[in-house]
Amino acid sequence: MQFSRRRKNHVANPQMELYGHALQFYGKPPLENISLTEFETFAVDRLKLLKIVESLGVSHVKLSEPYKHKLEYESKVLNLSHRLSTVRADEYEKRRKDHISHFILRLAYCQTEDLRRWFIQQEVDLFRYRFNDLYPEEKLEFLHINNLQYDRISAEEKENLKSELVNSSAVISGVVVEDQDFYKVPFQDALDLVRTRKVYLKAGYVYIPHQDIVAIVLNDFRTRLSKALALTARSLPAVHSDERLQPLLNHLSHAYVGQDYSNQKNVGKISLEHIDSLSGKSFPLCMRQLHQALRENHHLRHGGRMQYGLFLKGIGLSLEQALQFWRSEFIRGKVDADKFDKAYAYGIRHMFGKEGKRADYTPYSCMKVILSNPPSQGDHHGCPFRHSDPELLKQKLQFYKVSPSGVSQIMELVKGMHYQLACQKYFELTHNIDDTSFSLNHPNQYFVESQKVLSGGKDIKREKDPQSSQETAAARRSTPAQTTEPGTSQELTETTADLTPFFNDA
């Protein structure tokens, strides 16, 4: 048996064989023992990275220069960059961290549909960025290592389909068709290309030039991860029984939404008669729009009922109040009391966790409103800064008495795709303050902050400038790292308690 001679010469460290490439499909879980400290640090660092991936994805076009630049910078800071380190030993450590941190987050994010969806989305985006950044040889090497083979079409078929191929994508020219190999792949393996109609589709197959093979790889990555998470979810009870891990995993899975406004501390503090005036004063634009549409049409479609209904729950409406509210409005329209009780009441009770699987649904965050379920004909939900025609948005803002200079500031932000910042600007202009002290990411947060301003008054108006508040936040973030020590579960609980301010800060 002569294993040692078979080892490739350039691999000085035998462990590098485990990580033959900077990128991987995360097919095999790590098999080593790690300390609890590493467990935490790795997980937290990767989570930070995924959150950065998420926010960059909203405010930038993915794979644009600024996007790539920022993401590379942040990856380096967290020691999760895929680019080769200068020191070989460092490279191994980095790949190991990437591997382990991914699997730890799987444990935290496999538990619910929402968590899974979020995790998959960010991991796919991260993978897309990294793969895109590889040199062509490295890309080929990746395909080779992972045994990805696709059907090539003949030159004749290519020639016959030339005009369709050219017309199917802005990046495919006649030259590309002539020069590159084209592959025929079942459409189920290229969903992202199909979804955006960036590819030629015939009889269930998409035709892809070699340069675009990345989309297929991404789809593959997404499918594998999705299946793996479903499997992980089933083995979770065993993991949860380990007391050392459970607190940390719980913290991790709540971190990405920060406050989810699902606790019912403030139930019953709002009275129905105030909703109209509250909608003008303290509702973010999306909810104000929904409320107005509801009052005007005495009806809202499903998407609108969900978004607005859950928001109302978050501001403190009780189930009885909600039923009364929706019922009295719908009755003014085409729905009679009987029909309401049969058709719509069920949905409202469902929202409050009183029906079906009894899940207590949380009000939608800005991310969710902006990214999922875009409105179509007859809908009023979504984020006005994202989904409304710019002209109509302008008119609406003017109608709500925003000054012309304010309107143009907002429109600038909208043009730059900074929807949440635009909403924050709207907050500032309608509350007559210079700077919000918070970073907006949830409609209910808008409401809470608004109520603070309107009732607390003076001391909130001139907040300490954004610079210093960021500094204090950063200072708080660095403390937990200094207090981590490996050891007993007691210490771990203390450590995780120290992490709480970090997570709530998000």
Partner: protein
């Protein structure tokens, strides 16, 4: 003439008759069993019923065709919905460990509803339809049927009239039934061109290059546009609708259009607009698409567990049966000629007039009992006959693929 005879109050009397003597259970089971290729496919299928007084029951499932018949005849549902095939029998889902009861497969479905076109039709709104706006459904079917077949390679499409204001499409290919949620949503997005809600004025924006799918869909739309939009809907004939069209046209073109429309009454806009159109502006195409391109509800198509109205279900408000539509006769389909439950029940009482070409040898002899044979003769005496016949043809086409599958499987097990 049939619609005026229908009275929703009569449903409790008509439904028992319908389910006992007219509902095509044999064909229905033949469809949902899919040739018995997969074990428990029919048994694990969820049905939901809406009963009298709006009582809604989910997670109904049946072991055999007979059981389905007996239950339906007992409950006399006002509405029937079909859901997914689950991992376990839906009527036993409470006994299954939480988390393991899952929707596994279902046909890929589409729901086109006329209310989604309210911003572009002037003749009706909300639940009303007329022969003028029905063309929108015809266009939708043409566009989607072509795309699902030519682009996606699907072959077994069942188009069904919903009974009031829309149509449904059931894509029954095996590959379609096995699609994931992500795949279904990708297919639906590929097929979507009209985007935006109340707050969006211009809902279709085209950029170079024009994808072959869009060109092919446009050809389908163009076939009907002149007759439908310019004559039927008269979009250039009234000031408000002209303004709506103009809102979609770039400003530099508007002056020319204003000039010309104030002088003459235009029908053939496409050619004159092409003269003035600059390169890369496709507004005449965008206008046609915004007015006519199918509007799908993505949420209906996305979910594997989504419940959709069953073919041959009755629409309680109109009394019309949700009948399968023969695409070969699409241009002559008239939603107002679709039989109502009261019509076909009435026809049952009439003496046999000897339908042409309908003989009982058409039916397979084997396991049919007398009641079954009688029921088959029954529906053939009514206006429902042609729709069931078309459904039969659809099933025959699919059956050859099942035979192939069964042979393959038995080969694998070496059973002969």
């Amino acid at each position: 003439m049939s619609s005026s005879d229908y009275d929703p109050a009569c449903l409790p009397d008509l439904l028992p008759l319908y389910y006992r003597r007219l509902f095509p259970f044999f064909q229905y089971y033949r469809w949902l069993n899919y040739g018995g290729v997969q074990k428990n496919y029919f048994q694990n299928r969820e049905f939901s019923f809406t009963l009298k007084d709006d009582i809604y029951v989910r997670y109904q499932s049946f072991s055999t065709q007979n059981e389905l018949e007996k239950e339906m005849q007992k409950m006399n549902p006002y509405k029937i919905d079909i859901g997914a095939i689950y991992s376990h029998r839906p009527n036993q889902h409470n006994t299954v460990k939480s988390g393991t009861f899952q929707a596994l497969e279902k046909e890929l479905v589409f729901d086109i509803d006329m209310t989604d076109y309210d911003d572009v039709r002037s003749c009706c709104s909300a639940a009303d339809i007329c022969s003028k706006c029905w063309t929108l459904m015809t266009i939708a079917i043409r566009v989607l049927d072509r795309a699902l077949r030519d682009d996606f390679g699907f072959q077994h499409l069942l188009w069904v009239y919903s009974g009031r204001r829309g149509v449904h499409c059931w894509v029954c290919d095996e590959a379609a039934r096995k699609l994931s949620v992500a795949a279904r949503s990708a297919v639906a997005e590929y097929l979507s061109l009209v985007k935006g809600g109340e707050e969006t004025v211009k809902k279709v924006v085209l950029t170079e290059p024009i994808h072959p799918f869009i060109s092919a869909s446009l050809s389908e739309v163009e076939r009907y546009f002149k007759q439908y939009a310019l004559k039927g809907q008269d979009i250039l004939g009234r000031k408000e609708s002209v303004n709506k069209v103009l809102a979609l046209v770039p400003e530099d073109i508007l002056f020319t259009v204003w000039l010309l429309t104030s002088v003459a009454y235009y029908y053939d806009t496409t050619s004159f607009l092409q003269h003035t159109a600059k390169k890369n502006q496709h507004f005449e195409k965008e206008i046609m698409l915004q007015y006519c391109y199918p509007r799908l509800d993505i949420n209906v198509s996305k979910g594997v567990n989504h419940l959709l109205k069953s073919p041959f279900s009755v629409h309680p408000k109109t009394g019309r049966i949700s009948v399968p539509m023969d695409v070969k006769e699409l241009d002559t389909f008239d939603p107002f000629a679709v039989p109502t439950i009261s019509l076909i029940c009435e026809e049952l009482d009439q003496p046999r007039t000897g339908e042409v070409g309908e003989k009982s040898e058409d039916i397979k002899e084997n396991e049919k009992d007398a009641a079954e044979k009688r029921r088959m003769r029954d529906y053939k005496r009514t206006s429902l006959a042609k729709y069931v016949k078309y459904f039969d043809q659809f099933l025959d086409q699919m059956a050859s693929s099942w035979k192939g599958e069964l042979l393959r499987k038995s080969d694998l097990q070496k059973e002969f």
